[in-house]
């Protein structure tokens, strides 16, 4: 069998840690090869070795059967290896074409030959069905389109082997579908693809083979056609994993959160939430489904006091909390697991311990008359770390040093521990691996069963379907439909999220 890429027995060390320990990855020409592993398993390290960003301590790399030494990304480019990064590396104010040619501009008498470049971009775009406008500015196009620009960038540089680093993390369900089509088109034209992911569904859907790594070690390579998600998950995590979260039917009681006629404007003064009505009862999880950018973030910011609402009212347990400060909202009984945990959820340069009292540092017993009591703070932190299985060397470790999953568990521990009446969980499992997701889902259901109201915002339809007792679909600033997860399908949800006129769901 011909391998286009062979990474044999790769070992890469960082001070105090072996990131890759004897990993072998062999990619055949014309296949989509998945690289599966939990967060921190060493996937990105391995790919950075292939892309020339890191030098391995041991092991060899062969491209098309020949031994190569990839000393920097330029060498990788010359060998036909291209990387589509998870975080796009694009210049906002440049056009699509300008971004694509950046660094290898076609010249004509000392000036950039933009016309020629645009033609080439158009040709490539058509060939692979990317439908990208070469003259559009990056800031004017959607995230999905921006990703296609990243793909075009590698193709323009003659890439034969494309590495996709968690490409679906930022995409809507519709965009994911389109991306899969694009990947298939790439294969048809003779390219090979390495797909870094921890989403099993995607692997089952598009990949031919899958290499699993766990804690820096290569576990093995399997044919996707002969395996199933459960097997893949246990290979990845090293133990059995349950998928559909077990839960009993909800037992909703009084209305906890009541939103009436709420309108919210964003920073540009565009109305993002329009006359919205929504109730969340104690003892139920309401899933807020929708395509990103339909006002979900603004809605949550308005509830939590981070953004002023233009009109309408928000009540918690019958008391008005409209336009209170974040502190007053917190004290009224709302916990908020924020969408962007690095920006809002944690002070990354604070120790884990100090992060555990981010809202309560000025309350007894953590401080008395304005003086902090570190003994109590760290005692609390220790107990939360224990209870929520936050893996950290100590409570004195900076939050920055923790993996994403452990950071999230720390936030959830802190938020849930305050015994709030309402928990707002915005994308609580974004970017986490199955083990952490399982844990977080369990915790949210536990809280529901304790009689708390949970408002769940997620862009993952699976998560919405699995966790919610009721789904509210948000489109264009309004709740366009409320459906029962038992009576709906992902297809129907997708249509509703896209703003299809279908009103009453489930029934028809």
């Amino acid at each position: 069998m011909d391998y286009v890429i062979e990474m044999l027995n790769i070992r890469k060390e960082f001070p105090g840690i072996v990131a890759n320990d004897n990993i072998t990855l062999q990619v055949q020409k014309g296949e989509i090869h998945a690289l599966l592993g939990e967060n921190g398993a060493g996937k990105s390290t391995l790919m950075n070795v292939l892309f020339g960003l890191y030098q391995p301590e041991k092991g060899e790399i062969k491209v098309r059967g020949e031994n190569v030494k990839i000393s920097d990304p330029n060498v990788a480019n010359r060998l036909g290896i291209g990387m589509v990064h998870q975080h796009f590396m694009l210049v906002d104010k440049f056009t699509v074409t300008e971004n694509i040619i950046l660094g290898s501009e076609p010249k004509k008498k000392g000036t950039v030959d933009l016309k020629k470049a645009e033609k080439e971009v158009e040709r490539l775009s058509e060939l692979y069905g990317l439908k990208v406008d070469p003259r559009a500015k990056i800031r004017d196009i959607s995230v999905g389109m921006q990703q296609r620009v990243e793909i075009l960038k590698t193709l323009y540089r003659g890439a034969e082997i494309l590495i996709f680093d968690e490409p679906t993390a930022v995409l809507t369900p519709q965009e994911i579908k389109e991306l899969i089509e694009i990947m298939r088109a790439l294969i048809r034209e003779g390219k090979s693809i390495i797909l870094i992911t921890h989403k099993l569904k995607e692997i089952m859907q598009v990949c031919d083979r899958c290499t699993v790594i766990r804690k820096g070690k290569g576990i093995g390579t399997v044919d996707v056609s002969t395996t199933n998600p459960t097997e893949l998950a246990s290979l990845m995590v090293g133990r059995e994993v349950t998928f559909s979260t077990e839960k009993t039917p909800a037992n909703p009681k009084d209305v906890t959160l009541s939103i009436k006629g709420l309108s919210v404007k964003d920073t540009r003064h565009v109305e993002m939430v329009k006359d919205l009505n929504l109730d969340v009862k104690s003892g139920e999880i309401v899933g807020l489904a929708g395509v990103d950018g339909n006002g979900q973030s603004e809605l949550i910011e308005a509830i939590t006091g981070l953004r002023k609402s233009a009109s309408g009212s928000i009540h918690l347990n019958g008391k008005p909390i409209t336009n209170l400060t974040p502190r007053k909202v917190t004290e009224a009984g709302i916990s908020h697991i924020p969408q962007d945990r690095h920006r809002f959820g944690l002070v990354l340069d604070f120790p884990v311990g100090e992060n555990m009292v981010l809202q309560t540092y000025n309350k007894k017993p953590f401080s008395k008359k304005g003086i902090l009591n570190y003994k109590e703070i760290y005692k609390k932190a220790e107990s939360l770390i224990e209870e929520y299985d936050v893996r950290t060397p100590s409570v004195y470790t900076k939050a920055r040093a923790l993996s994403g999953g452990n950071q999230q568990k720390a936030i959830i521990g802190r938020e849930v521990d305050r015994s709030p009446d309402l928990i707002i969980a915005a994308q609580p499992t974004r970017g986490l691996d199955v083990g952490a997701i399982e844990f977080i889902h369990k915790k949210l259901i536990e809280e529901r069963d304790k009689g708390r109201a949970v408002l769940l915002l997620s862009f993952e339809l699976d998560e919405i379907m699995n966790l919610s007792d009721r789904i509210a679909v948000m489109f264009d600033g309004k709740i366009v439909s409320e459906v029962n997860p038992e009576e709906t399908t992902e297809q129907e949800l997708g249509l509703l999220m896209a703003g299809s006129k279908q009103q009453k769901a489930g029934g028809q």
Binding site: P15, T304, L306, T325, P326, R327, K328, V329, T330, E331, H336, P338, R343, F344, G345, L346, V347, L348, D349, F350, E354, L358, Q359, Y361, N362, S367, G370, I371, L372
Partner: protein, 348 residues
């Protein structure tokens, strides 16, 4: 081999060492004997108790201006206006010293307090503009420096004196000078201000590390979004930080105003106490104890340098070059950190 904490402590030490080393080569290059040069520097700073007293005297305002810069830094602000806050503090202490007639137990604290308040007010304005309108504090504070300098000059010439270039000396009741400290150090100008400076360092440490308010200030310094999310009032903390920073700077001014000199004069240019405070804070890693140590080093270099022309024929400008080299190496600490980590890795 090295822990991260050790690396953080080693960086300024290595920087100082490299700075001195490069300084030695420069002396050598210009035909001076570096050993004699540094010996003269040492003697000029610690040679006898008079020089030592003068060194400590010089250290005093550096501690406070260093604390001022460091405090703002810890809250994520770059207070370049310490210089101006020093000048208004200086002026205020002298003015209160001259304008009021009271027993020392009231007069002296009042003069010191006036300096702190004046500096605080000078810090308040940029803080307010930053918090409410998002105006960058660096630009405002730079401009405030000039306003402070020329306002002070104008007041000295036209209001506090009758067209003279300096004010009268403040009376004993408003002076920090100490017969006792002076006599201990062969009548150097060492004054009680050193105690105020050390006390201020302790206050900064306590405030930032032990109080709920300090927790907020640090949180805002690291991450404003998370602070807002957690219910803190970000704007109020920014203003407070600038006010406290300005108060430290104002005290630095009082050290000169009613400590070292006893008067305020019309100044041709900046005192540089505030600007040197930036370097002191940087070298001290923006922590209280570090600032005290860095201020000590700066004071030593400044005073010791005075002896280099007579002691070894080395021009004082060269000492300024050595100081600049030290700051250069601190600023490029990434280089040193990288090197230390490499040593650490190989040593394993």
């Amino acid at each position: 081999m090295f822990s991260n904490r050790l690396v953080n402590i080693l960086i300024p030490i290595v920087s100082v060492f490299l700075g001195l080393l490069v300084g030695a080569f420069i002396m050598l290059g210009f035909g001076y004997n570096p050993f004699l040069g540094y010996l003269a520097l040492w003697n000029g700073a610690f040679g006898d108790s008079y020089f030592f007293g003068e060194t400590l005297r010089q250290v005093t305002p550096y501690i406070l201006s260093g604390l001022a810069v460091a405090f703002a830094f810890r809250t994520g602000l770059f207070n370049i206006g310490v210089e101006g806050q020093v000048i208004v503090g200086w002026l205020a202490s002298v003015w209160v010293g001259l304008a009021i007639d009271a027993p020392m137990i009231i007069h002296l604290p009042l003069a010191v307090l006036a300096a702190a308040l004046a500096g605080a007010a000078w810090g308040f304005l940029p803080g307010l503009l930053k918090a409410k309108l998002g105006v960058h504090e660096v630009i405002v504070t730079i401009m405030m420096n000039y306003i402070a300098l020329y306002t002070s000059n104008s007041l000295v010439r036209n209001v506090i004196s009758d067209g003279k270039d300096r004010t009268e000396r403040v009376p004993e009741t408003a002076s920090l000078t100490s017969e006792w400290l002076a006599s201990l150090t062969q009548y150097s100008r060492l004054h009680y201000g050193l105690l105020i400076a050390l006390f201020a360092a302790a206050i900064m440490w306590f405030l930032l590390n032990k109080t709920a308010r300090g927790y907020e200030l640090r949180a805002v310094g690291f991450n404003q979004d998370a602070s807002r999310y957690a219910g803190m009032n970000v704007g109020r903390n920014i203003i407070l930080s600038m006010v406290i920073s300005g108060a430290f700077a104002g005290l630095a001014g009082a050290m000169e105003g009613i400590g070292t000199f006893g008067y305020q004069s019309v100044k041709g240019g900046f005192t540089n106490i505030g600007f040197d405070g930036i370097a002191v804070a940087l070298l001290g890693g923006n922590v209280a104890i570090g600032v005290v140590l860095a201020a000590f080093l700066f004071g030593t270099l400044k005073i010791g340098a005075l002896n280099m022309p007579t002691g070894a024929g080395v021009p004082t400008e060269l000492v300024d070059i050595v100081i600049a080299m030290i700051i250069f190496f601190v600023a490029s600490s990434y280089m040193i950190r990288w090197f230390l980590l490499k040593v650490k890795k190989e040593g394993k």
